[in-house]
């Protein structure tokens, strides 16, 4: 019997969770590090150089986040929430039904997945203006204290939201993976 190492559904889940979600977590945390560690009141070639790297990082974060939420919502979520045929006892191909069938794991849908439906979209929305300001204002994102403070707060919110979504997604996938 030919058993594939990964099914199409599991590959999409890995692209969504590990590639895009995990990538966004890494890059958004790197943005936060940049904003805190490389803050400066000076300007000049060095700050411009650092700001160019920050801009690349911010744009990459936004691209990863938007791809993660769009693929998560439109590609990996439909097979997760598919309704099993009446009377089916093996629910392993129907993650939502499998999770809800056991009271000890039901919270993974009622809280974890319900939160994951919307929170990552907010993360993508709050990350986008940071990238926009970085592109439009250049090194001022690092050297202008007021612009930097707002960017730092929004990036910190983004990191927390992405971390929560990633952690909850890991829990769901641990109990009911999309095979």
């Amino acid at each position: 019997m030919d058993i594939p190492l990964f099914s199409e559904r599991s590959i999409w889940t890995m692209i969504h969770g590990i590639g895009l979600g995990g990538g966004a977590l890494l890059t958004s945390f790197a943005m936060l590090f940049f904003l805190v560690a490389l803050r400066t009141d000076a300007f000049g070639e060095q700050v411009n150089y650092e700001a160019r790297w920050f801009t690349w990082l911010a744009v990459a974060t936004v691209i990863l986040l938007w791809l993660a939420v769009i693929i998560g919502t439109y590609v990996t979520f439909p097979p997760y929430r598919a309704t099993p045929p009446e009377g089916l006892t093996d629910l392993s191909a129907y993650p939502r039904a499998l999770i809800r069938s056991d009271p000890s794991t039901a919270w993974l849908h009622s809280f974890a997945m319900e939160a994951k439906e919307h929170v990552p979209w907010i993360a993508a929305i709050v990350a986008t203006p940071v990238a926009f300001v970085s592109v439009r204002y250049g090194s001022r994102i690092l050297s202008d204290r007021s612009l930097r403070n707002v960017a730092t707060t929004l990036t910190a919110v983004c990191v927390v939201l992405v971390a929560i979504a990633t952690l909850l997604g890991t829990f769901v996938n641990k109990v009911a993976p999309l095979h």
Partner: protein, 113 residues
Amino acid sequence: MASTMSDADTREAGVAQPVGAAMAAYVAAGIGAFALGLIVILNAFGLITVPALYSPAGGVTGRTAFGVVVWLIAWAILHARWKNSDLDVGRMHRITIALVVAGVVLSLPIFAG
């Protein structure tokens, strides 16, 4: 023209780009986050019905799409109004964070569930 100058050019010329465009982007993100949270909770309590844009994925497609549309419209309007203005950044910062936090809280299933 200041709008076509790079950041370094504007600094050398002693002209700083107004922060209005940045504040428009930040505050619009707050409005978008809050709108999404509000749509989620109003829909959860049956006060509004948001249709699904893609039925296999369910109502989340409609709720998030409406939130994104509100965000982009708010951004376009605020950008047009504020792009040449210098605004109180601290006040805009507080407004943005309050809206984002409210949006996140409203979207959580402990309230909307």
